[in-house]
């Protein structure tokens, strides 16, 4: 049985050193052995073989971000359901009630963003109430 901190973490240390050595070794070897040709075409971003056009830095509609954020929020919250489902039998009624509260809260949030028009892709489709200052 390992007794001290040092002994306990010694395998981890070995592992870390090995990992770093391997990465460094691979990089060094490929650099030493590999053949490098540099020209303009090689430096272009890879676009599945199609010649790239225009600038990669484009402005996206803010809608994308909004949807992305909402997705993350609801996705993460949905993930809670999995561990809950696994231990559902052990939790019994308590688990059910607590998840009910949780789902109601999420649903009211969902309802809120829906009514606020955050899910309307085409602006102006629904008459939105805005809380903007004049």
């Amino acid at each position: 049985m390992p007794t001290s901190y040092t002994e306990m973490y010694f395998p981890v240390l070995v592992q870390a050193i090995l990992a770093m050595a391997l990465a460094a070794g691979l990089l060094t070897v490929s650099r030493l052995l590999g053949k490098r040709v540099r020209n303009r075409v090689k430096d272009l971003p890879y676009e599945s073989g199609i010649v790239p056009t225009g600038d990669a830095r484009q402005r996206f509609s803010v809608k994308f971000y909004l949807v992305a954020m909402l997705f993350i929020v609801f996705d993460i919250e949905a993930i809670f359901l999995y561990p809950w489902a696994v231990v559902y039998r052990d939790l019994r009624m308590v688990g059910f009630v607590e998840m009910l509260v949780f789902v109601i809260l999420i649903l009211s949030g969902f309802f809120y963003i829906w009514k606020k028009g955050a899910l309307d892709w085409a602006a102006g489709a629904v008459d939105r109430k805005e809380n903007r200052a004049p």
Partner: protein, 486 residues
């Protein structure tokens, strides 16, 4: 561990938070559903919600004890801070009516966010477990970040919100890191158990605990805007809508101090000698930086922001004293400070005009001639902020410096009191403007006080005078609960 339904006792002790959350959610939904609504509807509803939560806090406080297996504890200390932040919330709602109408920005979200933030603060007040503290801190902070940027087309408000958010999350990370280290070295997140481990025979390596204390000091120091983590405060207070700035300077600060006091005087008490110098330095730096920087401000909100930094310094003096008298002095001071500061901010709200055009000191010129009542109220608040006797601010300072002298912090007390003489100068500038100059444009244009603002001025003024003439009632309660906390 078998999981069972929370008992009614648990739920009763957690009732204020439940009510705040439910009402907050309800308001958000209502705001989305209601097509037509009467003016001020959400304000009135929020006042009702806060009154209910206040009642629940008092009810919970009448039967003190732990809840949810010791994660929360409802004691006098928790009840004191719950009542304090909820009272702050009510005053903020009262002084927001006119502001929201003026800015044409009345929504349910504003009030819902306020309730969420207060729910977080109530949780912070009663948390007895570092994880609960952290959750409360986050609930309170995230809602505050949004509130700071509530006027979303206002560039300054945007800047304020972003700054507050970035620096705030950074500070929370520090706090969390401290919690992690403390958990790593003591094996528990419960405050009483941490105390037991630290005093017990198997006390962990002190360097780690001290490091944890220092990191938590950084995180909480940011939340209470203590130097050297104060840089955000002036920009955020200036940019945020005035009622929100008032809120930020009172409620989250009080709650963060509640956490500060609870963690540092219970769990981390055994290593008090280690963190005392840190608190000492931070207290002195806050007072000095706050007061001297406030001397130079011409914007009233910035001035109040720096003054709020200085006042955080005074409360830190009480923390540095590491005694029950210090804790109760800090509690008293936070109550007095909340009242006088909210009052002062309410006058700023009243006078700033549409779009917050009038925010310089010069805009207060001649207020006493046009609106003597408003000026008289502000005079009471300013005198209390200076610390003139018969006001709450005076007794607050008095108790704090008495606690400091009790703990033999003579130099800190002397420097602190000299600091408050410096502070007199910038508060006097406002008095000078109000009473000794001719009316400014802002004063000429000022509307008569609305009913909400009248209440938002009269109640804190009465409170300030009450604390200044009969400080005993509050102080005794504070002293009692400070002693029981351990």
């Amino acid at each position: 561990m078998p999981i069972s339904f929370p008992t009614t006792l648990d739920l009763g002790r957690f009732l204020p938070e439940i009510l705040l959350t439910v009402f907050g959610t309800l308001f958000m939904v209502l705001d989305a559903v209601l097509q037509k609504r009467s003016k001020n509807l959400f304000g009135h509803l929020t006042l009702l919600a806060l009154a209910a939560a206040l009642g629940a806090s008092l009810y919970a406080g009448s039967e003190p004890g732990p809840a949810f297996g010791g994660m929360l504890v409802v004691d006098g200390f928790a009840t004191f801070f719950r009542v304090l932040v909820l009272g702050v919330g009510m005053l903020i709602v009262l002084s927001s009516y006119r502001f929201l109408a003026r800015e044409n920005a009345e929504t349910g979200e504003y009030h819902a966010l306020l309730l969420f933030s207060l729910a977080g603060q109530c949780l912070m007040a009663s948390a007895n477990d570092l994880i609960m503290v952290f959750i409360g801190l986050e609930i309170s902070s995230i809602a505050s970040y949004v509130l700071a940027g509530y006027l979303r087309d206002d560039k300054r408000a945007n800047e304020a919100a972003l700054k507050y958010f970035l620096l705030g999350s950074f500070a929370t990370a520090f706090f969390l890191y401290g919690v992690a280290i403390l958990y790593g070295s003591t094996g528990t997140v419960k405050l009483d158990q941490i105390h037991a481990v630290l005093t017990g025979p198997n006390a962990p390596f002190p360097v780690f605990v001290t490091l944890a204390a220092a990191l938590m000091l950084v995180g909480l120091g940011f939340k209470v805007s203590a130097a050297p983590f104060q840089v955000w405060a002036p920009d955020v207070y200036q940019g945020a809508p005035t009622p929100v700035a008032a809120f930020l300077s009172a409620a989250p600060k009080a709650a963060a101090f509640a956490v500060f006091l609870r963690i540092f005087t219970t769990a981390l008490e055994p290593i008090g000698t280690a963190w005392e110098p840190l608190a000492w330095g931070s207290a002195l730096a806050s007072m000095t930086i706050g007061n001297f920087a406030a001397l130079l401000q011409s914007n009233i909100k910035r001035m109040l922001a720096y003054s709020s930094i200085a006042h955080a310094g005074y409360v830190l003096v009480a923390l540095t004293a590491r005694s029950d008298t210090g804790t109760s002095a800090a509690m008293f001071y936070l109550a007095a400070y909340a009242l006088m500061n909210l009052g002062a901010f309410a006058v700023v709200t009243h006078l700033s005009g549409k779009g917050e055009r009038y925010l310089t000191l010069d805009d207060f010129a001649g207020l006493a001639q046009k609106q003597p009542f408003t000026a008289a109220m502000l005079t009471i608040f300013l005198l209390s902020l200076i610390g003139v006797p018969l006001t709450g601010g005076f007794f607050g300072k008095f108790y704090i410096f008495k606690a400091a002298l009790d703990s033999h912090l003579v130099w800190l007390a002397v420097l602190g009191l000299l600091n408050s003489a410096v502070a007199a100068y910038y508060y006097l500038r406002v008095l000078v403007m109000m009473y000794m100059h001719d009316p400014s444009q802002a004063v000429q244009e000022a509307e008569p006080l609305s009913h909400g603002l009248q209440l938002a001025l009269v109640l804190p003024a009465l409170g300030t005078l009450f604390l200044g003439i009969f400080p005993n009632w509050v102080l005794e309660f504070a002293g009692h609960s400070a002693a029981l906390m351990k």
